[in-house]
């Protein structure tokens, strides 16, 4: 194995220049980027092929450092297979796709039946089932499609955050959001938001927190960690989730703000201020 | 006289004189010989009717069997009920005491019902009803509210149904207990104590008693405990 690159150098910096508790930079894009997608021209064969509109109801793209995930939400809409429709609530199904070029261990086969992806999809589904107000949409179906574009550690974290943002963008009623973050341990130092390199060498866990009640809805650890260390890493991760919640909250708030002001332009009663202008070219 | 027979065994009836033999479940006549089609113990009543009592799990509906079923779906005119048979049974909206077009029964998907098999032909979906057709009264049939239902073997279910069996009176002496037994191997037990406050909530000891009753029935079903064994089990439970 090549020369050992230090996870944490004596100066307290990690291999990518971050301090111990620093999160990677987050880049969030809500809504669909392609201009035509929010307006879909219905040509006949397209509609006949699959009657559902091609534009997702909600879309979000999130990047934690180099790890990038995109989530698209279709629905709530008619269940494609009558068998799946549940008489008193919505049926959620989740599909996770790992793009072949996304790097990491995915270069090998990650086909449809790959158990790792099925497990990730099952985790996302059971994470959001108690969070979405499924009772509001009986006999309908909500599809969450998560694509992993790039992998550099924290794949589960990016998938969960992307799914939350896409559901918010789709306007699906949620009791609370779910914010995920990963944390690891290097000898006695707790590290947050690990890269793929750090994940290989340190025991790490991913935590999914519901910010409103502060409760933990998702917890996943696949590496060996002594019980005495666990509590410390676990509590730091839960704290860090608040920061990510802040970032996500910012984006959601600013996005809603810009859409509301865009809508306000059309109303004759409101005058339009210059501020709204530059807000406009942000879209 | 009960001897254990296996499928395919030839049955030679004792001296029955001229009376015609009546063959119950598990026996069939093949070219003037009687052959067993199921493993179990051969029983005979008044030397003329023979049947095989086997401890099957899968229930084959026979008419006028009391059964316990779960409502799985609600259709235009009837409910579909799972009674553990190959195909689900149908329970007509009107098959209740005093039912009419207007006052529909208030059953929901998932409700438990105690009913009687009215139609059970080989090629038809079985039909059940929640009243005794002859008297028109509910005769104990209808929705089973509260309590708990467990699965036991067919033999245990049949023995619980016979009035002379020791188990139910024994349990009844310990605490107030309501029991509904289905030939399809399902037994519903409920020990609702008329708590001092009169409310029929599942108070602490009514849940405890129901669990005790369940464990006794299961012990009898799986280990065949006798009265002494059951009493010993009850004593160990009542801590």
């Amino acid at each position: 194995m090549g020369s050992r690159v230090e996870i944490l150098n004596p100066g307290g910096y990690r291999s990518d220049g971050r301090k111990q508790y620093e999160l990677r930079s987050m880049d969030i894009t809500l809504g669909s980027t392609s201009s035509s997608s929010s307006t879909v021209v219905h040509d006949l064969q397209n509609a006949m092929a699959h009657p559902h509109p091609t534009a997702p109801d909600g879309r979000a793209h999130i990047a934690h450092g180099l790890t990038e995930a995109t989530a698209q939400v279709f629905g709530p809409r008619e269940a494609q297979m009558r068998r799946d429709a549940i008489h008193d609530r919505a049926n959620i199904n989740v599909q996770v796709v790992m793009l072949p070029f996304s790097g990491g261990a995915s270069s090998r086969r990650r086909g449809r039946g790959d158990k790792r992806l099925l497990e990730l999809a099952a985790a996302i589904k059971s994470t959001f089932e108690p969070v979405i107000q499924t009772g509001l949409y009986p006999r309908s179906q909500i599809d969450i499609i998560v694509e992993i574009h790039q992998q550099d550690g924290g794949v589960l974290q990016a998938a969960i955050n992307a799914a939350t943002l896409a559901l918010v963008d789709a306007g699906v009623a949620l009791y609370d959001q779910v914010v995920a973050v990963s944390a690891g341990l290097h000898s006695t130092a707790v590290l947050l938001d690990l890269t793929h390199y750090e994940e290989n060498d340190c025991p790490h866990l991913t935590v999914g927190v519901m910010p409103r009640s502060g409760k933990v809805t998702l917890l996943n650890m696949e590496s060996r960690l002594h019980v005495s260390r666990f509590e410390h890493v676990f509590s730091v991760a839960c704290e860090a989730a608040k920061i990510i919640k802040g970032e996500m909250g910012n984006t959601i708030g600013q996005r809603t703000e810009s859409l509301v002001s865009a809508m306000a332009q059309g109303e004759p009663t409101y005058g339009r201020t210059a501020a709204a202008d530059d807000m406009m070219d942000e879209i | 006289m009960s001897i254990f027979v296996l499928p395919g065994d030839l049955i030679v009836p004792g001296s029955t004189g001229s009376k015609k033999l009546k063959l119950g479940p598990g026996l069939v006549e093949q070219s003037s010989a009687i052959v067993a089609t199921r493993a179990g113990t051969l029983h005979s009543k008044q030397r003329t009717t023979f049947f095989i009592d086997s401890d099957t799990q899968r229930y084959v509906p026979a008419s006028s069997d009391p059964v316990i079923g779960t409502i799985t779906a609600r259709q235009a005119e009837s409910y579909r009920v799972d009674i553990g048979s190959a195909s689900p049974a149908t329970l007509d909206f009107l098959a209740f005491e005093g039912a009419s077009k207007r006052n529909r029964p208030s059953l929901r998907v998932g409700s438990l019902v105690y009913a009687r098999v009215s139609v059970a032909q080989r090629h038809l979906d079985p039909e059940i009803q929640c009243y005794d057709a002859t008297t028109g009264k509910s005769a104990g049939f209808g929705e089973l509210k509260g309590g708990m239902v467990i699965k036991v073997g067919a033999k245990t279910a049949r023995s619980l149904l016979s009035p002379t069996h020791f188990l139910l009176p024994l349990l009844g002496a310990q605490f107030p207990l309501e029991v509904a037994t289905g030939v399809n191997g399902r037994v519903w037990l409920s020990s609702v104590e008329k708590a001092a406050s009169g409310s029929s909530t599942t108070s602490r000891n009514s849940v405890k008693n129901t669990i005790a009753a369940i464990r006794c029935v299961q012990a009898y079903d799986e280990e065949g405990l006798d009265a002494k064994g059951i009493l010993a089990l009850l004593a160990s439970l009542s801590l």
């Binding site: 089932e129 108690p130 009640s213 917890l219 060996r224 | 799972d82 998932g110 509260g146 369940i214 464990r215």
Partner: protein, 306 residues
């Protein structure tokens, strides 16, 4: 076969009121395992684990193969765990059910990825001949929580298995039969054991009031006012109606190997930590039980030739 019907309303209500009074159908306290029973076969590395009505069989066989190019010093272990309709009519042959995905992944993490088995000890001739173990898990009957039962059967099978002794002279590799040389145990670093809790959550307002307890199988709503219960080693009914599960795999040296709470009803941080500590106690007890069972079986074998 019609899909197995979901439990009836009385069953749900009864379970809810029983749990709220810390009672279970088989009389166990909320935090007690069903007493596992280990039945060893005549072959070494063949064990059947029985927990209540749940039965899982684990069997190991080994053969000599050429190692993978990128790992010349390491032997291989692969796990076959397909759930057949034998376990329950709910499973179809050939179709991967969700339970099978969870169990297969957990077995992979607990037995393979946790380095419980020292792969390098399986090496015979580096680059040419290594032992390749195949652990087959057969699910005989699903009485709830097949996951824990399968993990226990798997790790005990690994500790029970003996591989033939091998002599290497240059290119010459001779495998000694059990009669001539006593077979050798595998190098097992630690014994990870999996504990699964079924989680239930009811709004606190319900317990006191006379209203029938909340019977929706899937509670949702902000969980700040909910009371949650964790049932260790759930039986079939508890597993079906559970609002979520938490699985903790750790060894007797209280080293966590896998922590898995894949969604479902959320828990407070303190509750998670308490459950982890509870699992540590249980792991120690179970380790003693495994030791004792292996010794008893070994004593009865009389294979010692020396």
């Amino acid at each position: 076969m019609p899909r197995p019907t979901s439990p009836s309303i009385p069953e749900k209500e009864f379970l809810v009121s029983a749990i709220q009074q810390s009672l279970r159908l088989d009389g166990r306290p909320l935090t007690t395992l069903r007493e596992p029973q280990l039945i060893f076969g005549s072959e070494l590395g063949w064990v059947e684990c029985v927990m209540g009505k749940t039965r899982v069989l684990a069997a190991i066989d080994a053969k000599m193969v050429k190692p993978a190019a990128d790992r010349p010093y390491e032997g291989m272990i692969n796990i076959h765990s397909e759930i057949s309709p034998m376990a329950s009519s709910e499973y179809e042959q050939g179709r991967t059910s969700d339970e099978e995905v969870t169990i297969t992944r957990m077995l992979d993490k607990v037995l393979r990825r946790s380095d419980a088995l020292d792969k390098e000890s399986l090496c015979v001739v580096a680059g040419q001949r290594v032992w390749s173990l195949r652990l087959t898990i057969q699910f005989l009957s699903d009485g709830g929580n097949m996951l824990d039962c399968a993990c226990l059967a798997g790790i005990v099978a690994l500790r029970h298995f003996r591989k033939p002794e091998v002599d290497v002279e240059g290119e010459e590799v001779t495998i000694h039969s059990p009669e001539s040389r006593a077979p050798l145990p595998l190098a097992i670093h630690h014994t990870p054991i999996c504990f699964t809790f079924a989680l239930f959550s009811f709004p606190t307002t319900q317990t006191g009031s006379t209203a029938a307890p909340l019977i929706s199988t899937l509670p949702s709503g902000s969980f700040s006012t909910h009371q949650t219960y964790a049932l260790l080693d759930p039986d079939l009914l508890e597993e079906t109606l559970a609002h979520g599960t938490l699985s903790i795999a750790l060894n007797a040296q209280s080293e966590l190997c896998v922590l898995q709470k894949m969604g479902g009803v959320p828990l407070d941080q303190a509750k998670v930590v308490r459950l982890v500590e509870l699992a540590v106690e249980k792991a120690k007890e179970l380790e003693i039980f495994i030791e004792r069972s292996l010794k008893e079986d070994w004593a009865g074998r009389g294979l010692e030739v020396i």
